[in-house]
């Protein structure tokens, strides 16, 4: 590590990184718990997820504020500036991921008195993939690892394939028996939220690549 002439500035950067990781673990927990509440049709847990989303939202504003203050007072440049700008974008994406977890929780509340249309197999798979991608994208952010970030983005294809499989399967079930449409639609909403979470992680990977290389490029278009 190069010798720094700005230890106080470096401490501020570390604080932003730490808060960003904390936010990441809260979002990860929200995704995990939302699918858990879906599996168990646990409305109480779903309500708690919705309530806890406020913490994620607050943390997003806290980090944004820290970034703004750092830009205004310390004038970061080059790699530091890219890191701060990347962090501001990443917290925005993570906040939306929290909203998607909340979206699943809201669906769970609506469907909690009804049995699941089918056993959950691919939806938990999607959730696990999304959580793994989120964790690895944040690892890549900390390690400034563009190669790892690209690998994360590539994994979004797996989520998209699972989503398509779920979509096709549910559509077939609903076509056969229109009585299943409400319950099928609920599951589709949940899968759609997970698919969007995958897209948000791809955005994070793009920001890590930008931060590391200075190149801004949309992935998985």
């Amino acid at each position: 590590m190069a010798h720094s002439l700005r230890p106080a500035f470096d401490r501020e950067l570390s604080k932003i990184r730490d808060n960003l990781l904390r936010m990441g673990s809260l979002v990860d927990a929200a995704i995990e718990r939302s699918v858990e509440s879906l599996k168990n049709r646990d409305a109480a847990m779903a309500r708690q997820i919705i309530q806890d989303d406020a913490v994620i939202n607050d943390l997003r504003f806290t980090i944004e504020e820290e970034c703004l203050t750092l830009i205004a007072t310390q004038q970061p440049a080059a790699g530091d500036l890219r890191m701060v700008v990347a962090a501001m974008n990443i917290v925005n994406d993570m906040e939306r991921m929290g909203d998607h977890a909340t979206g699943i929780a809201k669906t769970v509340i609506r469907m909690s008195d009804q049995p699941l249309l089918k056993p959950l197999i691919d939806i938990p798979r999607m959730a696990n993939l999304a959580r793994d991608m989120l964790k690895r994208s944040l690892d890549a952010f900390i390690a400034r690892d563009a190669v790892a970030a690209r690998a994360v983005a590539a994994q979004d294809d797996d989520i998209d394939h699972l989503y398509k499989a779920i979509f096709d399967e549910l559509l077939a079930i609903m076509a056969q028996d229109p009585n299943t449409i409400p319950r099928g639609t609920y599951l589709l909403w949940c899968a759609h939220n997970l698919e969007r979470i995958g897209d948000r992680v791809t955005n994070i990977a793009e920001r890590v690549i930008f931060m590391t290389t200075g190149t801004m490029k949309e992935l998985n278009v």
Binding site: A2, H3, S4, L5, R6, F9, Q75, P76, A77, A78, G79, D80, L81, R82, G214
Partner: protein, 248 residues
């Protein structure tokens, strides 16, 4: 289009080489900022551009600096004319202990440009964004002006002899932030008509005001690029370390 083309420039103070193989092109009607730590060679380089270093004994230039294709170190070059074409604004405002009018009129008088002198002084003061503040006090001492006004007067003095290039060596280091911003704004206006090269220790100033920026380090020009790129995506590790305050 390049106003200056610098090729493989070395500069020596006696036996000591303080600029090493500097090559760059300075674009016309742009602001070029030179940054780097003290002693890195940026001011020396700036003063090579109008041969101000000639006044220091024991200095020597190797390589080539061309102004619009003409080698400024060629024997037939009229150095006084070169310095008229390439004016220099110093770190500390240095008005003459004369009236505001006489400060601006001094250069034109020396060069025999006395026709329409009043008009020339007014245009120069307008060009330096000082006219409105001093038009009713033209014959009062320049030393009564604020530092920011004095520096703009020095810029007006340069403008009065119709230069093509304005070199600025830390022009705002003696000024408060408001006066600094007004000089920076003036620079943006001046670049419509002049080529400007500024040496500054203030990296944020370089970032704010320049079109291109170069980092000098131990006598070498380690990176020279568009300012937006240099401050967000520098290609060189030394630049990255310097502008982020980290040294390897």
């Amino acid at each position: 289009m390049a106003k200056f083309s610098v090729e493989h420039l070395d500069f020596y103070y006696g036996p000591k080489r303080t600029l090493l193989d500097v090559s760059m092109e300075i674009s016309e009607r742009e602001i070029t900022a030179l940054i780097g730590p003290s002693g890195c060679g940026k001011s020396t380089f700036l003063r090579c551009l109008n041969r101000m270093n000639d006044t220091i004994d024991g200095t020597r230039v190797v390589g080539k600096i061309a102004l619009e294709g003409q080698d400024i170190y060629a024997p037939q070059v009229d150095v006084a004319d070169l310095r008229r074409r390439v004016g220099l604004v110093f770190q500390k405002p240095n008005p003459f202990p004369k009236s505001i009018f006489e400060n601006v009129a001094f250069g034109p008088r020396v060069l025999g440009l006395t026709r329409d002198l009043n008009e020339r002084v007014e245009q120069s003061l307008r060009g330096a964004a000082l006219w409105d503040e001093v038009k009713d006090h033209l014959h009062e001492s320049a030393l009564g002006l604020s530092l920011g006004q004095q520096q703009r007067l020095c810029i007006a003095r340069v403008l009065a002899v119709e230069p093509e290039v304005i070199l600025m060596d830390e022009p705002c280091s003696a000024l408060d932030p408001i006066a600094t911003l007004s000089i920076e704004e003036l620079m943006r206006e001046l670049k419509e008509r002049y080529t400007i090269v500024i040496v500054t220790h203030n990296m944020q100033q370089a970032a704010r005001v320049s079109d291109r920026a170069g980092l000098f380090w131990l006598g070498e020009l380690v990176e020279f690029d568009l300012t937006g790129k240099l401050f967000t995506r520098p290609a060189n590790e030394v630049t990255e370390s310097y502008i982020t305050g980290r040294f390897g």
